[in-house]
């Protein structure tokens, strides 16, 4: 089967959804095409196709190691989206549904892109497609968040194009033919011009790091995640950041083949630790329970970056962490969305007693918070443990200490906000702000399912998943 279907099917869905006349039934396009995508993605996952080395798109081991989880997350969010858009039936959802589906198609393209230029084009298109979604609520706050997202994200995307040009020039200067597939760049290896490779690495790390939300390029994240509908937040945090991370991994492999892997690893480690530190400090100060999810995302992007810096074992751990973080973060976003809607405010100053107002969502939110702060036996505990082991095995004692310290600080910050809003009795302000909100199965089951998958991942990560991760690592670190 052709892996291009992963890209085409959602895009066809987007076109159909845009043409569909009825606002009430249109949201059903999301789960239908989400399900198709999951079936396709897992079919390819179990029957990985052979990818021609010079192919521009392909379901290669790296795509196989991460794309299925993005697809799963999208399906669950899509089911949630049907209930969410029913609640928001006062707003037209044509653009919302069509763009969400095209984002799924573009993300599939980005994960499968084996060409530097195509990778950039898909990432850029995802960035642009997200803009109207952030603005869905139409409030001045949402506009402010969208503006910052565009300005910071646009600059990031521009710098990653400049980085792509530099990498292209390094190949040209080294006598290459201008073939910009990752396979050709890696094959050229030490033939790449060194100063240009390093320039390209810095620009691409900053550019795709902005998309990923690594500090100090994370400034758009709290605003965007805080103001966007939670389903958009979940897909941004689980899908868009993932595509940027795989982009960095692919570029890192080229830089490694050029013999500059140690420099790349050092920068990844530093920027990862810095992101964790910044996130932990902001978590201690933030009072908004949707914004803390953004800082938690910055923290986990830092963990991914640290994993990517630690060689074979570290990258395998990072890929594991992509799965556990994506699923757990999705559960947190969706349950937070329920509570935000019921409470009428996102700030811990106004909101109290959510365990009375929305008992189910509050329970999922608290459990998810413990899961994301690495409570065993949820997925994040095991993936973070693997990162720590990889760090200790490569003799990075100080980095490990900082890593653990930041995790602890983040735990304090998260629990501070979460228990402030969940515990106690609903205050008079909460009661006056509160809107009638029914915890139907449609809004409770999706986050619960995501949380359940995170638990399963911790308890028994299937053998085939581990095999997929090691195949991806083998692709990134080819043994000569």
């Amino acid at each position: 089967m052709n892996p291009l279907f992963l890209i085409i099917v959602p895009l066809v869905g987007a076109v159909l959804a845009a043409a569909w006349p009825d606002n009430r039934t249109r949201p059903w396009f999301l789960p239908v095409f989400g399900l198709l995508h999951v079936v396709l993605a897992f079919w390819l996952f179990f029957n990985p196709p052979v990818v021609a080395p010079d192919a521009w798109f392909g379901f290669d081991p790296l795509a196989r190691a991460v794309l299925p989880v993005v697809s799963l997350l999208f399906l669950v969010c899509a089911v949630y989206g049907v209930s969410y858009l029913r609640i928001r039936s006062e707003r037209p959802n044509r653009v919302f549904v069509a763009l969400l589906l095209s984002i799924l198609g573009l993300l599939s393209g980005g994960h499968q892109a084996r060409h530097l230029g195509l990778l950039w084009i898909t990432t850029e298109a995802v960035t642009l497609a997200t803009v109207p979604l952030l603005h869905f609520n139409g409030t001045p706050r949402a506009f402010e968040a969208t503006w910052k997202y565009l300005l910071v994200g646009g600059t990031g995307i521009a710098l990653s194009l400049l980085g792509s040009f530099c990498l292209g020039y390094s190949s040209l200067h080294g006598g290459g033919e201008g073939d910009l597939t990752f396979a050709a760049l890696t094959a050229q290896g030490v033939g790449l011009s060194r100063p240009w490779v390093l320039t390209a690495w810095v620009l691409l790390l900053v550019g795709y790091g902005t998309k990923m939300g690594l500090a100090p390029m994370h400034t758009w994240k709290p605003d965007a995640y805080g103001e966007a509908p939670s389903i958009v937040g979940a897909i941004l945090a689980g899908g868009v950041t993932t595509v940027a991370f795989t982009a960095i991994l692919r570029v890192r492999a080229v830089v490694g083949s050029a013999g500059e892997g140690h420099i790349a690893d050092r920068t990844l480690l530093l920027i990862g630790l810095f992101s964790m530190l910044v996130a932990a400090l902001f978590l201690l100060g933030s009072r908004d329970f949707k914004r803390i999810l953004a800082y938690s995302s910055v923290e986990h992007m830092g963990i991914l970056s640290i994993g990517a810096a630690l060689g074979v074992a570290g990258v395998a751990a990072a890929l594991f962490h992509v799965w556990s973080n994506t699923l757990t973060k999705g559960a947190l976003f969706l349950s937070a969305g329920n509570m935000r809607r019921a409470a009428g405010s996102p700030s811990m100053d106004d909101v109290r007693g959510m365990s009375v107002l929305t008992p189910r969502s509050a329970a999922i939110f608290v459990t998810g918070m413990f899961a994301i702060t690495a409570l065993p036996p949820f997925g994040p505990f095991f993936s973070e443990l693997q990162v720590v082991r990889a760090a200790l095995a490569s003799g990075k004692g100080v980095a490990t200490a900082v890593f653990l310290g930041c995790l602890l600080l983040a735990f304090f910050g998260l629990t501070r906000v979460v228990f402030a809003i969940v515990d106690g009795r609903p205050s008079p302000t909460t009661r006056t702000n509160a809107q009638p909100f029914l915890e139907t199965a449609g809004v409770v089951a999706p986050p619960l399912v995501l949380l359940g998958m995170s638990l399963c991942l911790g308890l028994f990560a299937p053998e085939i998943l581990r095999e997929a991760w090691s195949a991806a690592v083998a692709q990134l670190f080819p043994t000569p």
């Binding site: 298109a125 400049l162 040009f165 040209l172």
Partner: protein, 215 residues
Amino acid sequence: MSGGALNLLIGLAMGLNLLALGSSRVPSLIRAVSIQGVLLGMMPLLLEDKNLDWRVVLVALATVVGKGVVIPSLLRRAMRAANIEREIQPFLGYVPSLLLGAGGTIAAVALARALPLLPEHAGSLLVPGAIASVLTGFILMIARVKAISQVCGYLVLENGIYLFGLLLFDSTPLLVESGILLDVTVGVFIIGIIVDRIQRAFDSLDTRKLTTLRE
């Protein structure tokens, strides 16, 4: 011969960078950016002494139309819609930003000498021009507070990237053309401003007032 003409155009574009940094009125800023766009669009035609194929002409045409006509007219429309007062109250004054820009241009020339270049690019101003424009774009985006001025800064940044892309124009298909997508980003920016004015969510387009969301 065409190398000299190309360098002349790049030199003019670098001069326009300084003009953009020094202009206190939004219309003259927009004019500087649009002239720069037209200059950039003419450059692919001068790249090589060879037969013009449809690809070169298409890129040149798209650039001139996009950067030189469509985006500036959208910007002017946004300016009218926002009824923006034409004086800019910058975050960083004009003389300091001009000095920074001039220093950046000198640094760009020095930096370009430090980087290894293919012999056919050694005498070209493409690399220094690219670095200088990227720096100018950053200065404009940081130093100005009006949304429209920041968009102009983004355009200059993007023009710098385009200049760099011309180095790869002959060897790599697709990559340079993909830069056109950046123009689409700019379009989204401006449409955002216009739409927002129609919704009247803000009274002024002063990005200093975008401060509700913070810790």
